[in-house]
């Protein structure tokens, strides 16, 4: 079963739940819950957790559910942070780097091409390196940033998971980075929304392979 965290201000939790239910059983996890036992994976969905006051994701990281997510990921459990979920994971220190306001200062909502890297962890199990995915982005603060030496380390350690396709970087992210994984590969954060790309009716179901990959790893104890 995959749990989808719901913060006050989340807005994609139901789409994320509907998406994971295409590959597994899912349930919502309220932000005050601390018991994640029985879950094989956790999704931190998009939205504006706690209003995104101060900085995107800055306040959500202190929620009880996020402490539980930190324990879950430390035990090897797969965690997927999408958009605001990526911001929360960076703020919580579970992923490197930070998400800054878009270079163009505008909210961006459009379909983008992503190119998968050869990256560690379960999420890439069903996606080949170099494979191209079509997935929407919709965000205000999606400009990935990390210092140059940190980026070199991430690339060398196969921790850059996805880049925007050439010429499609929508927000000014450094080195076109759209998603990164943690040191052990079981935590993935990405700005684009795979949960909105799960049915050809909406233009693409490329997000499904990512969600299926999530289940390739045994659950945390």
């Amino acid at each position: 079963m995959i749990g989808v965290i719901q913060f006050p201000g989340s807005c994609d939790e139901r789409d994320a739940l509907a998406a994971v239910e295409r590959v597994d059983v899912g349930r919502l996890v309220w932000h005050e819950e601390t018991d994640l036992s029985g879950l094989d994976g956790v999704v931190i969905p998009g939205g504006f957790s706690y209003g995104d006051y101060l900085r995107a994701g800055a306040i959500a990281r202190f929620s009880p559910a996020m402490e539980a997510v930190a324990r879950f990921s430390a035990g090897g459990g797969p965690v997927l942070g999408i958009c605001n979920g990526f911001q929360v994971l960076c703020e919580a220190g579970l992923l490197p780097g930070a998400l800054l306001p878009n270079e163009g200062l505008r909210f961006i909502c459009r379909q983008v091409g992503l190119v998968a890297e050869d990256f560690k962890g379960p999420f890439g199990e069903e996606i080949g390196p170099g494979e191209r995915l079509s997935v929407p982005v919709k965000h205000m603060s999606g400009r990935y940033f990390a210092a140059d030496d940190e980026l070199d380390r991430l690339e060398a350690a196969r921790r850059v998971a996805f880049r925007y396709a050439p010429g499609e970087n929508p927000n000014g992210s450094v080195r076109d980075i759209a998603g990164v994984v943690n040191e052990t590969g079981n935590v993935l954060g990405l700005m684009p929304h795979p949960e909105h790309a799960v049915d050809p009716v909406t233009g693409s179901d490329d997000g499904l392979s990512l969600l299926r990959g999530m289940l390739r790893q045994p659950a945390a104890a």
Binding site: A58, F62, A98, L100, N102, E103, L105, A146
Partner: protein, 84 residues
Amino acid sequence: MKAKVLIRPKEGILDPQGKAVERALPALGFEGIHDVRVGRLVELEVDDPAKLDSLSEKLLANPLIEDYEIVIDEGQSENGGGPA
């Protein structure tokens, strides 16, 4: 006592908000102004100012992308007392 935490984008990080402000200046007749950077100011009342550093580090600023500076307003403590 009253304190201020000044938060600004780290040197070298692109600040599109500052750039947008800078671009608007000539049209308003303000010449000779460059390198505009826009940050944030948090004003607060604090009992123990020793806590401000960790508060700034953990919540008010993200040290990866922002620098912060703590300014304590010594003369304005609520109980009217002078500097300790």
